[in-house]
Symmetry: none
Subunit: 167 residues, 2 copies
DNA sequence: TATGTATGAATGAATG
DNA sequence: CATTCATTCATACATA
């Protein structure tokens, strides 16, 4: 822990408290995507009671939320090589004690396709499937954070349907 | 942690194989800088042949690569700027694991406010806004002036008077 | 085993 | 509103 100097440097970045998040999500879920400024003010007012927050934060939050909401899109193009049900959990016993540049820069990696993911011995106890939901009884919105495809998993996208890129 | 001390962590990070890395670096080095969505798909397609991977991963990789690249260059010309690591978060109480999706909601024991950059007095009173949906409301008001109002610190970037809404 | 470093992923903010 | 940048966190991974 180092107990380094705990600078009072507050985050430049606003961090919504769970309570604020709850409220925001609630409002967002209620519909009307981006609330008007008037609404923003009201929301900010309410949220400010739970912590520091500004109208800009609220606005940004909604904007980001909206953008992120687009997840579950990005239909696979015609060409998409996936669906590999390979549980290639061979035996990456190879320690390959990487000195310091084995995984950096070009490296004649010998048959590296096998050691893509760290030895997943979890295949045995891979029962939990994101059931970590908390019984918070809050509005079941739509935010779902999938992850990247794992050997044995199925999820594909998570961040947003489209990460962007100009066409 | 040997006895059922496992968390429901099902979020293993995608680990690019040396081969994938090589391809990615090659593309990145080619100057394609920000590959378009289509490009991402192609790359993902190609890389998926070498191991599990998703477009999101590719996208993130490029994003991180660029950011990291920029960061690397810093601290040479003018001012020095090291200390990239270091979690200088004061951590008033605890902040090791980020629950992210975990919400407290109206939990009888709400004590998560300590996550924000400020330290609320924890009034812990769920007022549950009265900012309900406001029918027929477009933004037509004047600009909104609401920065963040950091207690003691101000935002380094100018966020403009309004967050850029209706023009 | 514990710690440090490297890197992918999440999110808030900026920009166009 | 769409896209990209910047910052932070969590986790993999190498090392002591």
């Amino acid at each position: 822990m180092t107990s380094a100097g705990h600078k009072i440097t507050a985050r430049q970045r606003w961090t919504p408290t769970p309570v604020q998040l709850q409220i925001l999500e609630r409002i967002f879920d209620q519909g009307t995507g981006t609330p008007s400024k008037q609404k923003i003010k009201e929301i900010t007012s309410e949220l400010s009671q739970h912590g520091q927050i500004s109208e800009t934060n609220v606005y940004n939050w909604f904007q980001n939320r909206r953008a992120r909401s687009k997840r579950k899109q990005l239909g696979s193009s015609s060409n998409n090589a996936e669906s590999e049900l390979e549980t290639e959990v061979e035996s990456p016993n190879e320690k390959k004690t990487k000195p310091e540049n084995l995984l950096s820069g070009q490296n004649p990696a010998p048959r590296a396709e096998d050691l893509c993911f760290q030895n997943p011995e979890i295949t045995s106890e891979l029962h939990f499937l994101g059931v970590m939901s908390n019984p918070t009884t809050f509005n079941g919105d739509e935010h779902l954070s999938g992850k990247m495809g794992m050997p044995g998993s199925y999820n594909i996208y998570d961040q947003a349907g489209d990460y962007g890129m100009a066409g």
